[in-house]
Symmetry: C2
Subunit: 340 residues, 2 copies
């Protein structure tokens, strides 16, 4: 046990990573919050009680390659953190950015990445207000790693958590799945599939606020990044102790992504997204939420893909085109390393 080593699969968002996080981090750091959500509520110290909910989140970005169709590590670092705040129902207040640079990196590549961060932050209506830079010798990093953290504020009356899903709720997704994962992977591996796949990398805080205004009955959200839709739904099913059923034929996947997945032996339900939101909403407000999502440029292809039901708590089921059911578990072993 004590000679266990970190594997690439510990970083892919699946079962092994969940075990590592539980064993090494949550147990030792007494995070206080039940783990599961991608952000945490700032504690009120009593000295200056913080108003409403202020949420805090962090993510490291190690994507390979740095530049890919539809984005780059800088855009990803801003959108990833904004979207973790958005999944808590929060508007972004401020971001920090911390850089680990490999000796020998071209300054113009760094400039291109920082320009892209600035554009993404502007789109999201937030600023990077503090930062840090470290340099490590050649061969001790891969050009650029970025960690962004974010502070967000949750509007009064809004309470979103992966633990809030209830039996009867509807499951929506804001658009087609797998674009980011397949765009990065095909660029990294130099694969050609006839038409170029483009990452969906985008900041979703505005779309989420529109949906919340139209449907205050939204109970849980998650941006399905590493590990994709299947992992996001497994997390919510466990946190809420409910079963979630997804209709395979309802899950939107672009033809190019579906073809590439088939050729590569990948499942689009596990492929990463960086501009999509999974939304769990009370059934009577599902139409209002869908319509608000579709009215936003980033949610035009939003659809209902399933529902929350009684059954085995923590389980995610896929109802296939042939009306069979298969369990959509957390995956074990690496599917796509360094996708974000």
């Amino acid at each position: 046990m004590s000679e266990d080593r970190v594997l690439l699969a510990h970083g892919d968002g699946g079962q092994l990573m969940a075990e590592l996080v539980a064993r090494v981090f949550v147990a030792r750091l007494e995070t206080g919050e039940p783990p599961g959500d991608d952000s945490a509520i700032l504690p009120s110290t009593g000295v200056y009680p913080l108003p409403s909910h202020v949420v805090f989140t962090t993510d490291a970005f190690v994507v390979d390659p740095l530049f890919f169709p539809g984005g780059d590590i800088g855009r990803l670092a801003v959108c990833g953190t904004v979207n973790d705040l958005a999944a808590a129902g929060a508007r972004p207040v401020a971001l920090s950015a911390s850089f680990i640079l490999e000796e020998g990196l071209l300054i113009r590549d760094l400039e291109r990445v920082v320009d892209s961060m600035a554009r993404a932050a502007k789109e999201a209506g937030v600023k990077v207000i503090c930062g840090d830079t470290k340099v490590v010798p050649r061969g001790r990093a891969d050009r650029i790693y970025i960690t962004t953290s974010g502070v967000g504020e949750v509007p009064q009356g809004v309470s979103i958590s992966g633990g809030n899903a209830q039996v009867g709720d509807m499951v929506l997704v804001s658009g087609p799945l797998g674009d980011h994962g397949l765009a990065v992977l095909s660029r990294r591996e130099g694969l050609e599939f006839g038409c170029e796949m483009v990452s969906d990398c985008a900041p979703l805080a505005g779309m989420v606020q529109d949906a919340l205004a139209a449907a205050p009955g939204i109970r849980a959200m998650r941006d399905p990044t590493r590990g994709g839709l299947a992992t996001a739904l497994n997390e919510i099913a466990r946190q809420s102790q409910v079963e979630i059923e997804v209709e395979e034929t309802a899950v939107p996947v672009r033809p190019a992504v579906a073809t590439a997945c088939e050729l590569l032996g990948l499942d689009p339900l596990y492929a990463a997204n960086e501009g999509k939101m999974v939304v769990i909403v009370a059934p009577e407000q599902a139409e209002a939420a869908l319509s608000a999502l579709r009215s936003h440029p980033l949610g035009q292809e939003a659809v209902r893909i399933g529902q929350v039901q009684a059954g085995r708590p923590g389980r995610v089921l896929l109802r296939t085109a042939l009306e069979a059911h298969r369990i959509l578990d957390r995956h074990v072993g690496e599917q796509m390393p360094r996708i974000c």
Copy 2:
């Protein structure tokens, strides 16, 4: 110009790093705040005006070796961020921690680091409330890199910034300089100097709050990490547009550190500290501040080392034992890479 590359010296806290930050980050990200302090005040969005000052900071840690006398990368990551908050006069409210792990890392080394983070956070009276983990292939990192971010709250009436120093203020330091830098360097290089040097790595928020309570006239603080005392004072002198004079004979340096510096050709005034605070205080409150620092276990060896004066704005002068003056500039070129 466009083929410039990142050098190790871009990460050492000196002149080249200041230029890179100004050229690449500040110019592009429109951080809004005048750069210079190690934390930034969260903007008030107007929707939920944040009470008093809430400050935000981030730092990446890439220290080599991971474990050194007096600490490790985990303790460093907590203390470094707590101390950046403390330098703004803030109490820590919450921390985040983001890990980049190299494939093959021993899980027990990771556990040791996380245990150490937990202990340091407990000492500082703060919790790590959110985190992230990425894994990169062998040879794309050096075992563990950690980025911590922190949110802190500044007590009412306290306004601390490197831009607030005034002519006539006194310059204090909370204890001997260079312990961290020399402890890490001698462990990394396998050097023996007869007696072991021990890092001063410690969380200073409690000591700083005691000093602020006793001396509300404290105007500027800085924890002299990368680049040491000389760099911290240069930053304050520039931000405040004042001259600072330091008396060489008053600067505390332990004999073992002084000897090691002499043998290695290093200057202790540029060596890193991780448990010291530079304090600029109104002259009439200098005694009260000193006495409060000395009453705290982490500030027992606090002393006055100089003063703020008219003269050339932005300049730091060292008055030597022989009553000569030499300019204590930002250093150019690497002195100690990967010290934090």
